[in-house]
């Protein structure tokens, strides 16, 4: 048997090569039309505020990011749980298998509900961000 690391190494080489080639090819082919909108930092479609050297985003961006993390973690826990759920329910009974997860989700739900009610997902555009957006639209 050959070393399995060879295959992994090859994959890495290919993974690096594809984007690099694409960038190289496009820079050869495209016309160069520099404008401000193209040079701003791109981050999830958010319009940055302040100067481009110290990039700042609207606070709500972070809020959403945090909420995303909540769901992310939820998924991380729920996923393995669903895999073993039926076996566990068969061995220990449904309450033991189900209840902790219900409590866990309930806690997260309370947090989410609170954040929602307190306007964490309410998208308010700050005047500054809006102003910045106006200049290049």
């Amino acid at each position: 048997m050959s070393n399995p690391w060879i295959a992994i190494g090859a994959l890495a080489v290919v993974a690096l090569a594809i984007p690099l080639t694409m960038m190289a090819v496009s820079s050869l082919l495209r016309p160069s039309v520099p404008e401000q909108g193209k040079r701003t930092t791109y981050e999830s479609g958010e319009v940055p505020t302040g100067s481009s050297r110290q990039i700042k985003f609207n606070i709500q961006y972070y809020m959403v990011a945090l909420l995303f993390v909540v769901f992310d973690i939820e998924t991380v826990f729920i996923f393995p749980w669903t895999v073993i759920y039926s076996d566990a329910a068969a061995e220990f009974g449904m309450t033991t298998a189900l209840l902790p997860m219900v409590v866990f989700i309930a806690i997260l739900a309370i947090g989410l509900g609170w954040a929602w009610r307190n306007g964490a997902v309410q998208w308010v555009r700050s005047p500054r961000a809006t102003k910045g957006a106006d200049t290049y639209e």
């Binding site: 806690i107 309370i110 947090g111 509900g113 609170w114 929602w116 009610r117 307190n118 306007g119």
Partner: protein, 516 residues
């Protein structure tokens, strides 16, 4: 008697967590609520319940049947006398703090958040008391820390508060990193995170693993690399030192205590400190038994490390407190000094590892008494802030004439902190002193005496200002806030009552320490 299910042993922590969830729900129902009474009521109820459970379990003797206590979740959490003792401290301090905050936050927005953060942090402390593994301890510690960063910066419009919060956060991040690295090194060296497993690894000298909840030697009997273990332990000491505001991790404390809202200063300097100490007590008594460590050789003599830290902390805290100009900052430094006193609990141990239970119980007793007197003192500052009294010593001149009850309570706190026999502080310091003499740790005993004498000097400055000096400017006190007053007077009452009741406290503490 009804036998409660095992998980109910965590009731002190659970009631705090539940109260915070209820608060979140209440705030979700009406996000713009300014019904401070309701919010504070829920919080007081939750923390009182927590204290009540802890007290009940202690008197009912939960976790005293054998030396292991009630083990939960594969020994990740253990509820024993020590855990309950600290849960009681946390519960009582939290009660006082939320009670006092009722008046304090009434003028601020984001009231629900304030109480939620306090309760979540308290939940972390309660859990930390029961943590029996480095992993759970770390998670609980972060649960303590994260809300407290936000709480310090709670006064959003106040530059001092925000700055203090940021500094606290930065130093906290550094310290957490140090602690996490220490934990990882210990894990690397011993192969386990559970305290009893670490202890087995140290005593047997081989790397362990946990199979089906029981600790076993790893296949091939690899030896524990003592040097790595030593570095890890030292870094854990660092993490603990941050939480307890001990030298050299104390830098955040004066700034955070001064900038934070006064009830939060009380909370951080009492409950948070106690939480740091419970981690230290449990980890070093259970996971890193000094006798085995010294026998194994090559690792670290943590008793000596704690001796150095204790003496340095006592001196730096008290000396700096002596030259402060503002009362709150003086209290902040004195709180650093008190961390030094409590460190004696881990430092007054003889070369062969004897005397640990006596010194630890002395430290625990001091923490309990300190929980009341120090909280009370900071709450008095909150009262003064509420009245618009200035921050300097001179601003307190003649306050005794306008608010005799509160000032009498403050006098009790300060003298008890100094160790005069007016409150439980006298006995707890005396007990610490005894612990040092027990193992002939003369340098610790001398440091304790010198610093207590010095502390009397700066504490009495406040007392002198309040009672003896003539008031300088015109100052009128318009209202006497109920919640704050109740908390201050209650704390003073308990401080005094701990004088006759200290016996019982020290008994429980001694029992708890012996069970470990």
């Amino acid at each position: 008697m009804v036998a409660l299910p095992d998980w109910m042993a965590l009731a002190p922590a659970l009631s705090l967590a539940l109260a915070s969830l209820v608060l979140l729900l209440a705030d979700s129902v009406d996000p713009d609520t300014t019904n401070t009474g309701l919010l504070a009521g829920i919080s007081v109820l939750g923390s009182l319940l927590s204290f009540g459970f802890a007290g009940w379990f202690i008197t009912a003797g939960t976790g005293m049947a054998d030396s292991t206590g009630v083990a939960l979740f594969n020994n990740q959490l253990v509820v024993d006398q020590m855990a309950l003792f600290f849960m009681a401290i946390v519960g009582s301090v939290t009660t006082l703090v939320v009670l006092a905050s009722y008046d304090y936050v009434a003028e601020h927005s984001y009231q629900a958040e304030f109480f939620v953060l306090v309760l979540l942090s308290a939940t972390g402390m309660s859990l930390l008391s029961a943590a029996n593994s480095l992993a759970t301890a770390f998670v609980a510690l972060e649960l303590v820390s994260l809300p407290s960063y936000a709480l310090v910066a709670f006064l959003k419009e106040n530059k001092g508060s925000v700055e203090a919060g940021l500094k606290y956060f930065l130093i906290g991040a550094v310290s957490s990193a140090v602690l996490a690295y220490g934990i990882s090194l210990v894990y690397a060296a011993t192969g386990v995170l559970r305290f009893d497993g670490v202890a087995t690894a140290i005593s047997s000298g081989t790397v362990q693993t946990i199979v089906d909840g029981s600790v076993q030697a790893q296949a091939g009997d690899p030896a524990v690399p003592m040097a790595i273990l030593g570095v890890g332990i030292l870094m854990i000491i660092g993490g603990v030192a941050f939480k307890t505001a001990s030298v050299p991790f104390h830098f955040w404390a004066p700034e955070a205590y001064e900038g934070a809202p006064a009830p939060i200063s009380a909370f951080l300097s009492s409950a948070s400190k106690a939480a740091g100490f419970v981690l230290a007590f449990r980890a070093f008594a259970v996971a890193f038994p000094i006798g085995d460590l010294l026998a194994a050789g090559g690792a670290i003599n943590w008793v000596m490390a704690f001796q150095i830290l204790a003496i340095a902390t006592m001196f730096i805290g008290n000396f700096a407190a002596a030259t402060q100009e503002t009362v709150k900052r003086m209290l902040a430094y004195s709180s650093v000094g008190h961390a030094g006193y409590v460190l004696i609990g881990l430092a007054a141990v003889s070369g062969s590892g004897e005397g640990l239970s006596l010194s630890m119980s002395a430290g625990m007793s001091h923490l309990l008494v300190y929980g009341f007197m120090n909280t009370g003192a900071f709450l008095f500052i909150a009262l003064a802030e509420y009245w618009g009294v200035g921050r300097r010593f001179e601003d307190y001149n003649g306050l005794g004439r306008e608010a005799p009850v509160a000032c009498a309570a403050m006098t009790v706190f300060l003298f008890s902190l100094a160790g005069l026999p007016i409150g439980g502080g006298f006995f707890s310091k005396f007990y610490l002193f005894q612990a040092t003499l027990n193992v002939s740790a003369w340098s610790l005993a001398a440091a304790l005496i010198i610093n207590s004498a010095l502390s009397l000097f700066y504490y009495s400055r406040v007392v002198k200002a309040m009672w003896i000096e003539e008031p300088t400017g015109s100052r009128t006190i318009e209202s006497y806030p109920m919640g704050l007053y109740t908390a201050v007077v209650g704390a003073a009452l308990v401080t005094v009552l701990l004088l006759p009741g200290f016996n019982r406290v020290s008994e429980i503490a001694f029992q708890a320490a012996q069970l470990l």
